[in-house]
C-alpha cells in the first residue's frame, strides 16, 4: 500500500466525519441526527483501521470492534428515547422539544 493512499483514506474519513457532523447541525429529524452520528462514528472506525494497517497492529481492529458494539448499544438507547418522545407527536422535529431552557 503506497504512502499516498494512507492520506487518501484519512481525507475520506475526515470528510465523512464532517458530513455527519453537519447532519447533526442542520437536520431536525431526530432519526436523521442519530444516523449522522453513526456516520461520525463510522468515520472514526475507518480511521482506526487505516492506522491499524499503517502500524500493522491489532489495537485499531479492537477499537473499531468496540465502536460497533458501543454504537449498537447507543443506537438501542437512543432509539428507545426517540420513540418515547416522538411517538405522541405529529412531527418528529427536535426543535419542538424545548420545555427545558434558560
Amino acid at each position: 500500500m503506497p504512502g499516498m493512499a494512507v492520506q487518501g483514506y484519512l481525507v475520506l474519513s475526515v470528510v465523512l466525519f464532517v458530513i455527519g457532523l453537519a447532519g447533526v447541525l442542520v437536520r431536525r429529524s431526530p432519526l436523521v441526527m442519530l444516523m449522522s452520528i453513526e456516520l461520525m462514528w463510522g468515520a472514526a472506525g475507518l480511521l482506526f483501521l487505516t492506522f491499524a494497517r499503517l502500524w500493522a497492529g491489532m489495537e485499531g481492529h479492537i477499537f473499531s470492534f468496540l465502536i460497533i458494539v458501543v454504537g449498537a448499544a447507543e443506537a438501542a438507547i437512543g432509539l428507545a428515547l426517540i420513540v418515547l418522545i416522538f411517538r405522541t407527536r405529529d412531527a418528529a422535529d427536535v426543535d419542538d422539544v424545548r420545555a427545558l431552557r434558560g
Binding site: 461520525m40 485499531g60 438507547i77 426517540i82
Partner: protein, 527 residues
C-alpha cells in the same frame, strides 16, 4: 496475558458489577411488596462492601507513605490502580452511596433497573478514573454515559425528564464521536493506545499537526463530560430533567471521573518541549476560565435550584483546572481535595432538595416544585435544621471559611499561584464574586419570609419539630427526629443521614484538611 492475580486486583470492580447484577436478581426473587426496600438495602450494603474492599486493597497493596511511586497495573497495564484512581474511586463510591440513600424517596416501582444502572454507572466511572488505556477509557465512558442517559429519563411520564435525557444523549453521542476521533488520531500518530506509549511519543517523537488535532479532540470530548463551557449546554437541561439523586450522582461522580481521566491524559500527552507544553495548556486554561465565568453568570438569575447547581457545577469544573496549569503531581492532589469538598457541598445541596420534595409530597410534581427557589422562602421558620444545613452548603460553595469550600478554594488558588496562572486566577476572582451573590441568594432565601408568615408562626407557637431540632446541636438531626412518624419515615432517615454526612464532611474538611490532603498529594506514579 492476563492471569488470575489480575482479577484479585480488580476485586472491587468485580464486586460492584456483581452487586449490580444481584440487584436485578433480588427484584425477581423477592415479593413485590418488599422489593423496593430490599433492592435499596442491597445496593447500599453492596457499596459499603465495595468500599471496604477498595480500602483494603489500597492499604494492603500500596501502603500510604510510599504509594506515590507505586501502582498496580493489571491486564497488561490497561488499568492503572494508583493513588489517583483509588482516591477517585472512593469519591465515586461515596457519591453513589449518597445517591442510593437519596433514591429511597423515588416513588417509582421498578427500582431494580434504576439501582442497577446507577451501580453500573459508578463502575464505569471508577474504571474511567483508573485506566491508562484509551480503549478502556472509551468503553468505560460509554458505560457511564449510557447508564446516565437512561437514569435521567427515569421518571415515567415526565416529559421534561425525557427531554433532558434526549438532549444529553444526542450531544453526548456527538461528543463521544469527537473523543473517538481524537483517540483515533493519537493512535495513528503514536501507534499506541496506552497512555504510556503516548507519553513516550510526547517526549521523543516529532509532534505534528495530527497529534495536535487529536489532543484537542480528546480534551473536548472529556470537557463535554466535565461540562466545561462551551460544551456545557446539556448540563442545565439534563440536571433539571433528572431525578434529584441522579443529578447529584451525575454532578459529582461524572465530574470526578472525567476530571481524573482528563488530568491523566493531559499529564501523559502534553509534550515535554516547554513552548509547546504552554501552547497546549493555554486553550485548556481558556476553557476553564470561560467555564468559571459562564457558570457563575448562568447561575445568576436562576430560580430553579437544579439548573442553578448545574451552572455552578460548570464554574466548579473550571476551578479544578487552576492547579493543573502547572502539571506537577501536587496539582492533582489539590484538585482532588476540591472534588471531595464538592462531594460534600453538592451532595448536601441535593439532599436538601430531596428533603424538600419529600416534605412537599414526594411525587414528580412535588419534586419539580421543590427545585423552585420561591418555595424555599421561610424554610427556617418551618425546618430550622434543614435551613441551617442549606445555608452551610451554599456558603461553603461560596468559599466561606472555615468550611471545606474555603480550604478547597485556598488550595486551588495556591496551586494557581504555583502555576503562575494569573489570568486564570483573575477569572476565578470574577467568578467567585458573581457566584457569591448567587449562593447568598439561596442561603438567604431560606431565612427570608413574608412578615405575615413569621407572625403566624409566632402566634401558633413552636411548630412541630422546631423545638426538637432546636435542642439538637446538629440541626440536621431534627429533620430525622423532628417529624411525626409517617410512611416515609425511613426515607427521612436516609436523607437525614446524607445531610449529616455532608455537614460533617464540610466541617471536617474545612477544619482538618490534613485528614485528607497528605493522602492526596503525589498520587501519580512517576511519568
Amino acid at each position: 496475558m492476563p492471569d488470575i492475580s489480575d482479577l484479585m486486583q480488580i476485586a472491587p470492580l468485580v464486586a460492584l458489577a456483581a452487586v449490580a447484577l444481584l440487584v436485578i436478581v433480588v427484584d425477581l426473587m423477592v415479593p413485590a411488596r418488599m422489593a423496593r426496600g430490599t433492592i435499596l438495602v442491597t445496593a447500599a450494603g453492596g457499596l459499603l462492601v465495595v468500599g471496604w474492599y477498595l480500602l483494603d486493597l489500597w492499604s494492603q497493596v500500596v501502603p500510604l507513605p510510599e504509594f506515590a511511586a507505586r501502582a498496580l497495573a493489571p491486564f497488561g497495564g490497561a488499568l492503572a490502580l494508583d493513588g489517583l484512581s483509588f482516591a477517585a474511586s472512593a469519591l465515586i463510591l461515596a457519591a453513589a452511596f449518597f445517591a442510593v440513600l437519596l433514591s429511597t424517596t423515588e416513588q417509582a416501582r421498578d427500582m431494580s433497573g434504576y439501582v442497577s444502572l446507577m451501580l453500573l454507572a459508578a463502575l464505569g466511572m471508577m474504571v474511567l478514573a483508573g485506566t491508562s488505556d484509551l480503549m478502556v477509557m472509551f468503553v468505560a465512558l460509554e458505560v457511564l454515559s449510557l447508564s446516565l442517559y437512561v437514569l435521567v429519563a427515569f421518571r415515567r411520564g415526565d416529559a421534561k425528564a425525557r427531554e433532558g435525557a434526549f438532549k444529553y444523549f444526542l450531544l453526548g453521542s456527538v461528543a463521544a464521536g469527537l473523543l473517538l476521533y481524537g483517540f483515533a488520531l493519537l493512535y495513528g500518530v503514536t501507534g499506541a493506545t496506552k497512555l504510556a506509549g503516548i507519553a513516550a511519543f510526547a517526549r521523543q517523537g516529532t509532534i505534528g499537526p495530527l497529534y495536535h488535532a487529536g489532543f484537542a479532540l480528546v480534551v473536548i470530548g472529556f470537557g463535554f463530560k466535565l461540562a466545561l463551557a462551551p460544551f456545557h449546554t446539556w448540563a442545565p437541561d439534563a440536571y433539571q430533567g433528572a431525578p434529584a439523586p441522579v443529578t447529584a450522582f451525575m454532578a459529582i461522580g461524572t465530574k470526578a471521573a472525567a476530571f481524573v481521566a482528563l488530568a491523566r491524559f493531559v499529564w501523559a500527552a502534553v509534550p515535554s518541549d516547554p513552548v509547546l507544553a504552554a501552547a497546549y495548556l493555554t486553550p485548556i486554561g481558556v476553557l476553564a476560565g470561560v467555564s468559571m465565568l459562564v457558570g457563575s453568570l448562568g447561575a445568576l438569575f436562576q430560580t430553579n435550584l437544579k439548573r442553578l447547581l448545574a451552572y455552578s457545577g460548570v464554574a466548579h469544573a473550571g476551578y479544578l483546572f487552576l492547579p493543573l496549569m502547572s502539571l506537577t503531581p501536587e496539582a492533582f492532589g489539590q484538585s482532588l481535595f476540591y472534588l471531595f469538598a464538592y462531594l460534600c457541598m453538592a451532595g448536601g445541596a441535593f439532599a436538601v432538595l430531596v428533603a424538600r420534595s419529600v416534605e412537599a409530597g414526594g411525587d414528580a410534581g412535588a419534586a419539580a416544585d421543590a427545585a423552585e427557589l420561591s418555595g424555599w422562602r421561610g424554610l427556617y421558620q418551618r425546618r430550622p435544621g434543614l435551613a441551617l444545613a442549606t445555608a452551610l452548603f451554599f456558603l461553603a460553595m461560596a468559599g466561606m471559611p472555615p468550611t471545606a469550600g474555603f480550604t478547597g478554594k485556598l488550595f486551588l488558588i495556591t496551586g494557581g499561584i504555583e502555576a503562575r496562572a494569573w489570568w486564570l486566577l483573575a477569572a476565578m476572582v470574577a467568578s467567585t464574586g458573581i457566584s457569591a451573590y448567587v449562593y447568598l441568594r439561596v442561603a438567604g432565601s431560606v431565612f427570608r419570609s413574608p412578615e405575615a408568615e413569621a407572625a403566624a408562626v409566632a402566634e401558633m407557637g413552636p411548630v412541630p419539630g422546631a423545638h426538637l431540632s432546636g435542642s439538637h446541636p446538629a440541626g440536621a438531626v431534627g429533620i430525622v427526629a423532628g417529624t411525626a412518624p409517617s410512611p416515609l419515615a425511613w426515607e427521612r432517615v436516609a436523607v437525614g443521614a446524607v445531610l449529616l454526612l455532608a455537614v460533617a464532611g464540610i466541617l471536617l474538611l474545612g477544619l482538618f484538611p490534613n485528614l485528607l490532603l497528605p493522602g492526596l498529594q503525589g498520587l501519580l506514579p512517576v511519568r
